[in-house]
Symmetry: C2
Subunit: 224 residues, 2 copies
């Protein structure tokens, strides 16, 4: 288990497909670095060699038959290695860690989306993450239709490696379950979550993210 003061530097960006979290995470990483902070930016599933291998399996729509239980366990296996090999060492070295998706995504997608029992998901999440919890989670919220339209545009628009994946193929109903799951989580943990309206232009969203990070990082006497 990581020491509490180090875990305070663990920040996650989360939300549905096409919410812009990945772009915003890169912008935030560059901005924090420019402010002189040590930062590791990383993403799930991935972040360790094993995770990238599992990511290939999970996101490739021409891949294997993967039922909901196997899907949950594969994401969890990737997370376990990501936490042990990448995130905890970075936190222990004093770095800030910005992570694109984490345990909340498992609750939202596999719990609220796929309907797997939330209790077993919490148990497996606690195991795969060695009890690590984000100190701050920025949730990028927007209507499912808007997010999916963006994700599809990206898929058809010169990002061959971003070709519409297993999740982007799910229907609107599934994505609404996921979105509502995220909002429920945010409501249950208002101290940890900040909800960002992800509909507007990227530079406005960037500004809002900076304000959130500014308050969280620099006004809590945590700066270095």
């Amino acid at each position: 288990m990581v020491q509490a003061e180090k875990a305070n530097r663990f920040i996650t960006f989360d939300g549905i497909e096409g919410c812009g979290k990945t772009t915003q995470l890169r912008l935030a990483e560059a901005w924090l670095r420019a402010r002189g902070l040590p930062v590791l930016a990383t993403a799930e599933p991935g972040g360790a060699a094993l995770g990238l291998k599992i990511r290939e399996i999970l996101l490739n729509r021409n891949s294997f038959r993967i039922g909901p239980e196997a899907e949950l366990l594969l994401f969890s296996a990737a997370r376990a290695q990501h936490v042990a090999e990448t995130i905890l060492p970075a936190l222990q070295s004093g770095s800030w860690v910005l992570c694109d998706r984490f345990t909340d995504a498992t609750v939202a997608y596999q719990g609220f989306g796929r309907g797997i029992d939330l209790q077993i998901i919490q148990t497996i999440n606690a195991f795969s993450s060695q009890g690590l919890k984000p100190a701050l989670t920025v949730l990028f919220d927007l209507p499912v239709e808007t997010g999916l339209a963006r994700a599809r545009k990206r898929a058809s628009n010169g990002h061959p490696e971003k070709a519409e994946d297993r999740f982007e193929q799910e229907d609107i109903h599934f994505h609404n379950l996921v979105r509502n799951g995220y909002l429920r989580l945010a409501k249950e943990s208002p101290g940890r979550f900040r909800i960002v309206d992800a509909v507007g232009p990227p530079d406005e969203i960037e500004h809002e993210v900076r304000q959130i990070l500014e308050t969280f990082i620099f006004r809590k006497g945590e700066s270095q």
Copy 2:
């Protein structure tokens, strides 16, 4: 959850490296088939396309860094798909299923061997197997040194695909923890386990396995 009477046809063969279970399982499969029974023989990790992919990752010693938590979750992901895609449909069609390793292996290797909490393993096992439990488990027991010597001989002896894997590389101490774990499980569930002394010649062991199956299958009025 599979119906009880169908789960009664689920039989596992288990034990440490080099115990001969795989050879004995093939012999038993052929024998039961010759007796006119519908039989599916299958193995963990594997049995479904996803499982074979995970098996590659898990058993290749030149693979990725895989910590104990990720290892447990990968085996469990493979099992979840194996159960959903292969084992349950076969049981539901009325077939007998002979499975080379199952949840007991996870308790023995990842629990007793790696030291992961047994409670969390039981929880994850119940989830990955959809609550399916073997009706009969044949445990092939022998001293670790004998088993490893056999496994190494096999690795060096014209079975390139069987090159010594991640688990065979572990030390004697680890394998003794695993063996003792299996024996503990057998002691806790004497109604389900049959322990076979796996030191002797294969044809004697085959004879003993046949007697066990004869009693279990044909003398319980379960034959068809």
